[in-house]
C-alpha cells in the first residue's frame, strides 16, 4: 500500500490548486493596486503623525521625542493667532459661499429668471479657476494705492485715499467666498432639480402658502445638500493657501496654511513643527468630512428621488429681472472683473494703479512664456512645461488607478473592497498642504525628492478620489451582469475590462481625466511644499513672480494659466455635459 505517501501528494496538489485558484488576474491586480494605494495614502499620514512627536532642539541639529511641538502650538507667538484667523476665514467664507451658492442655485433651478440655462456654465467657472489667481486679480483691483477700483474712484469721483482694501482677512473671505460659491451651488442645484414636485404640490393643496411650503417642505429637503456644501467649503477654505498667502499674510494675518508653508520652506524651517500644525489641521478637517460623509450625505438621497422630474418653477414676475441682475453681478465680480483686471495689468511694464495705453506692451508674456528667449524667466517657463507634464501624466495615471479602484469597490465583495473604499475617502479629508507635509517628511531622504515624481505622487494621492467618483457614478448605473456575461462568454478579466467595462465607462473616464487635468494645472498648496529648483509648477511660477518680481509679470503668467484652464473647462463641458457635474 502507498498509504504513507498518498496524503502527502494529495496535500501538495491541494495547496498547488489553492494557489492557482488565488492567482487570478483580478486578485493580482487588486493586491498590487491596494498595496500602492495603501502605501500612497497611509504612509504619509503615519509619517506625519510620527514626525509631530519629533522635537527639534534650539540649534536645529538634533531631535528628541516628545510633545514639545504640541506645546509650541499653544505657546507660540503667532500660531494661536493663525488658528483663530483660519477659523474666522473659514467661517466667513462658509457663510458667504453658502449664501451665494444657495441663492444662485435656487434662481437657476426654480425660478423663471431670464436666460438661466445660459448662465449656469458661467456660474460654475470660478470653481475651476485658481483662487490664488483670483486673489492676485483682486489685489490689483482693491489694493489701497494701486488697486484699479480705487484708482477709478479717485479719478472719476475725486475721492481721497481709497474706497476698498482687500489686503486683509475680509479680502480673503471675499475672494474665497466667491470662488467656493459654485461648490455649494453644485451640491444644492442637483437636489433642487431632482426633487419630486408633488412633495411641494401636496403641501400647497393642504393650504400652505408659498413661503410656508418653502420653509416647511423645500428647505428641509434641500438642507442636507446645503450642509454638505457648507462643510466642504469650510474644510476647503481652511486648507486654502494661495489666497491668505497673497492677501492677508503679508499684512499680519497669518493662517495655519501660511504658517505650515513657512515652517516647511521658510528661513526658520522646522518640518516637525510644520508636521504638527498639519496634523492638527488634518484632524479637524477629517472630523468634519467624516461627519459630512457619515451623517449628512446619506440623508440627501432619502428625500430626493432619482427620477427625471420637471421641478416646480416659480414665476418671479417683475422681480425676475432683479434675479437676473443679481446673477450677472456674481459672474461679473467672480469672472469678468478679475480676468479683465489681469489682462490690463499684464499689459503694463509697471503697475501704478492707472491704465496708461501708451506704455502697453506684450513683453510680460514674452518673458513668462517664451522659454527659448534669453529674457525669459526660467521659473515661470519651467512652470508651464512641468505643469503640463504633471497634468497629462498625473491625470492619466490617476485615472488608471481610479478605474481599478472603482472596479474593486463596486464589482468585488469582501475585505479588499471595503478597505479600498475607505482609502479612497481618506484623502478627501486632508487639505493638500497637509498631505504634502506628510509626503515631504516621508520622502525627503529618498531619490524621488526634488523630482517631478514626488509632486505627481502628492497630486495623485490627494485627488484620485475625484476621478474615482466620476467613474463610480457610471459604474453604479451599469449592470454588473454586463461584465459577468463577458466572463461567461469565455473572456478573461483583462479582456472583459478592455472590451466591455472600459468602453462602457468611457464618458466617466474622460470626464474624470479632464477634471484632474484642470485640478493639476492650477494646483498650488501641494506644489508649494514639494517643489524645488527645476520642478516649479505653473502656480509656483505665479507665486515666485508675485513674491520676487512685479505684478504685471504675475498677471501675465496668471492669464496664461487662466486661458489654459478655460480651454480645459470648455472641453470638460463638451464631453461631460451638465449631468456629470451636478450628479
Amino acid at each position: 500500500m502507498t498509504t504513507e505517501t498518498l496524503p502527502r501528494t494529495v496535500e501538495r496538489s491541494l495547496w498547488a490548486n489553492r494557489l492557482r485558484a488565488l492567482l487570478t488576474q483580478e486578485n493580482i491586480i487588486t493586491i498590487v493596486i491596494s498595496v500602492i494605494v495603501g502605501a500612497a495614502v497611509i504612509l504619509p499620514l503615519v509619517t506625519l503623525f510620527i514626525s509631530s512627536f519629533k522635537v527639534l532642539d534650539p540649534l536645529g541639529w538634533d531631535t528628541t521625542w516628545g510633545f514639545g511641538n504640541y506645546v509650541t502650538l499653544v505657546t507660540d507667538r503667532v500660531i494661536p493667532k493663525a488658528f483663530l484667523n483660519t477659523l474666522i476665514i473659514s467661517s466667513g467664507t462658509t457663510v458667504l459661499a453658502t449664501t451665494l451658492g444657495v441663492s444662485l442655485a435656487w434662481i437657476n433651478a426654480r425660478t423663471n429668471c431670464p436666460g438661466r440655462d445660459y448662465l449656469e456654465p458661467y456660474n460654475l467657472i470660478p470653481f475651476f479657476l485658481s483662487p490664488f489667481v483670483g486673489a492676485i486679480a483682486w489685489h490689483n483691483l482693491g489694493e489701497p494705492q494701486t488697486g484699479l477700483l480705487n484708482g477709478w474712484a479717485r479719478d472719476l469721483f475725486g475721492i481721497e485715499g481709497y474706497i476698498l482694501n482687500v489686503d486683509n482677512i475680509w479680502g480673503v473671505i471675499w475672494v474665497t467666498g466667491i470662488f467656493f460659491a459654485p461648490l455649494v451651488y453644485l451640491f444644492v442645484v442637483g437636489s433642487l432639480r431632482r426633487m419630486d414636485p408633488s412633495l411641494e404640490d401636496s403641501a400647497r393643496t393642504t393650504g400652505a402658502g408659498l413661503v410656508r411650503t418653502t420653509m416647511t417642505v423645500t428647505l428641509p429637503l434641500v438642507m442636507p445638500s446645503i450642509l454638505s456644501g457648507a462643510i466642504i467649503v469650510f474644510v476647503t477654505s481652511a486648507g486654502e493657501f494661495g489666497v491668505p498667502f497673497k492677501l492677508s499674510a503679508p499684512y499680519g494675518w497669518e493662517t495655519l496654511t501660511t504658517q505650515i508653508f513657512s515652517k516647511a520652506v521658510g528661513d526658520d524651517a522646522n518640518h516637525f513643527l510644520g508636521a504638527t500644525m498639519a496634523m492638527s489641521l488634518g484632524i479637524i478637517t477629517v472630523f468634519l468630512i467624516w461627519i459630512q460623509q457619515r451623517y449628512i450625505a446619506p440623508r440627501s438621497f432619502t428625500t430626493v428621488t432619482g427620477k427625471g422630474f420637471r421641478p416646480n418653477v416659480l414665476d418671479l414676475g417683475r422681480w425676475r429681472w432683479l434675479a437676473l441682475g443679481y446673477n450677472l453681478s456674481f459672474i461679473f465680480v467672480a469672472v469678468v472683473l478679475p480676468i479683465a483686471c489681469l489682462i490690463i495689468v499684464s499689459l503694463h511694464p509697471v503697475w501704478t494703479g492707472s491704465i496708461i495705453p501708451e506704455v502697453m506692451t506684450l513683453n510680460n508674456y514674452v518673458k513668462t512664456l517664451f522659454f527659448w528667449r534669453p529674457e525669459s524667466i526660467q521659473t515661470a517657463t519651467n512652470g508651464i512645461i512641468n505643469s503640463l507634464i504633471l497634468a497629462f501624466g498625473g491625470a492619466s495615471i490617476a485615472m488608471v488607478m481610479a478605474l481599478v479602484v472603482s472596479y474593486m469597490i463596486h464589482r468585488t465583495k469582501g475585505f479588499g473592497s471595503r478597505l479600498l473604499d475607505f482609502l479612497s475617502v481618506v484623502p478627501i479629508g486632508f487639505p493638500g498642504i497637509v498631505l504634502a507635509m506628510g509626503v515631504l517628511v516621508t520622502y525627503i531622504q529618498t531619490p524621488i525628492y526634488a523630482t517631478l515624481w514626488i509632486l505627481m505622487l502628492g497630486y495623485i494621492t490627494r485627488f484620485f478620489p475625484y476621478g474615482q467618483r466620476n467613474i463610480a457614478s457610471i459604474m453604479l448605473a451599469i449592470s454588473e451582469e454586463l461584465d459577468q456575461s463577458s466572463r461567461m462568454a469565455g473572456a478573461s478579466w483583462f479582456t472583459t475590462m478592455r472590451r466591455i467595462t472600459i468602453p462602457l465607462l468611457k464618458p466617466g473616464i474622460f470626464a474624470g481625466w479632464i477634471l484632474l487635468f484642470i485640478i493639476f494645472l492650477r494646483e498650488l498648496s501641494i506644489s508649494i511644499i514639494l517643489f524645488s529648483t527645476g520642478t516649479e509648477t505653473l502656480s509656483v511660477g505665479v507665486y515666485y513672480l508675485s513674491n520676487f518680481e512685479n505684478e504685471p509679470l504675475t498677471a501675465a503668467l496668471s492669464m496664461a494659466q487662466t486661458v489654459l484652464l478655460l480651454i480645459a473647462i470648455y472641453a470638460f463641458r463638451r464631453i461631460a455635459g451638465r449631468e456629470a457635474l451636478t450628479a
Binding site: 449592470s479 451582469e481 459577468q484 456575461s485 466572463r487 469565455g490 462602457l504
Partner: protein, 369 residues
Amino acid sequence: MTSDNRSGPYLEVQNLVKWFGDDRAVDGISFGIPKGAFLTLLGPSGCGKTTTLMSIAGLHSIDSGRIRVGDVVYTSPKEGIFLPPEKRDIGMVFQSYAIWPHMTVTQNVAYPLEIRKLAQSEIDDRVADVLALVGLTDMADKLATQLSGGQQQRTALARAIVANPLLLLFDEPLSNLDLKLREQMRVELKRIQNEVGITSIYVTHDQAEALVMSDEIIVMSKGQIEQRGGPHDIYSRPINEYVSNFIGVANLLRGRVVEVTEPGRGIVEITDHGKHIRIPCRLGPGIAEGQAAVLSVRPENVHAERENSSDSDLEGEVLQAIFLGSYVDCRVRWGDFEWKVIAHPRMGLKQGEKVFLRLDTEHTLAVQP
C-alpha cells in the same frame, strides 16, 4: 475517477454550501442531471436558487461542496479547485439580458467566438445560423439599444448558445417581459433548447414557467431542496404543504391520519374550522397512521353539486362565483374554511347558494405539514 463520472450524471452538485455573512444562502444541496436535460430551480426570492446558479457559473466562490460537469471539476474548496468563470465553457442568459449597449447584435453574438479565436469565416457562419435560429436575422446590424425587450432576450440567448457550451444557465430570463411575450418566449426557449440539446438549468420563481418548460423541477426553500421531480409529479404529488402551496393553487386543511385502509390510502380526520369530518384520501410518502398531515386538494378536483349525490358531509355556501370564460372560480364557505372550487359555467352557480362539495379521492392527498 473518469469512468465513474461517465456513468454518473452529467452535471453533479454535491453538498453545496454558500454563506452570505451570517446567512446560509445555500444549505448543503445535492443534485445531478443527465446530459441534455432541462432542469428548473424553482422557489421564492431568497430561497437560494440564484445563488446555486451563480455557484455553478463560477460568479462567486462557494464555502463547501463540489460541482462537476462531465470530467471537469468546476469548484471544490476541499481540493482547492476554483475554475474561473471564463474557463467553464458555460452559456448564460441573465435577468437583465446584459446585452452590451456599445455593440451591434452581431458583435454581441460573435463575441464568445472571437474570444475562442475562431476563423472569421466560421464566426460569420455560426452567427448567421444562430440568429436564424432565434429569428433575429433582420436585426443583425442593430445596436442593442434599438432592440425591444423580447429581441434583447433572443440576442442574449443567441450569445449564450453560439459557442455550443457544456451548459446553459438561465437566471429568471423572462421576468422582465410582459405577460403575453413571456408566454410566447417560454415556448420559444423550450423549442430552441430542444433543438440545440444543451444541458440547461433554469432559475425562476414563476411556477407556470417551470411547469411548461422543464424536464425536471427542483423546488427550493431556505437554501434547501423541498422536492424534486417532473412537472406532472410535482403538481399532482407534492411532498408537503410548502410545495403544494407554491405550485399551483390548493385547498390545504390540517388534520390527522386516523386510519390506513390499504398501502398508500387512508382516512384523514379534520377537526379544525369548527367541523369534524373524516375524508378518505391517498397518503403521500412518509405519512403513517396517527400522524399529523395536511390535506391538499386542487380546486379542479373539488366538485360543487346542488344535489348531495355522494353523501358528502361538505355542505357549504357559495361566497363568490367569478366567471372567467371557460370556468367559474368559486369560493365556498364551510365552517370558517373557504374552499377554492372550479365549477363549470353551465352550472350557473350564484352567490349565497347552498352546495355540496365532492372531493376526487384519487386526487385528494395527505402530505407532510
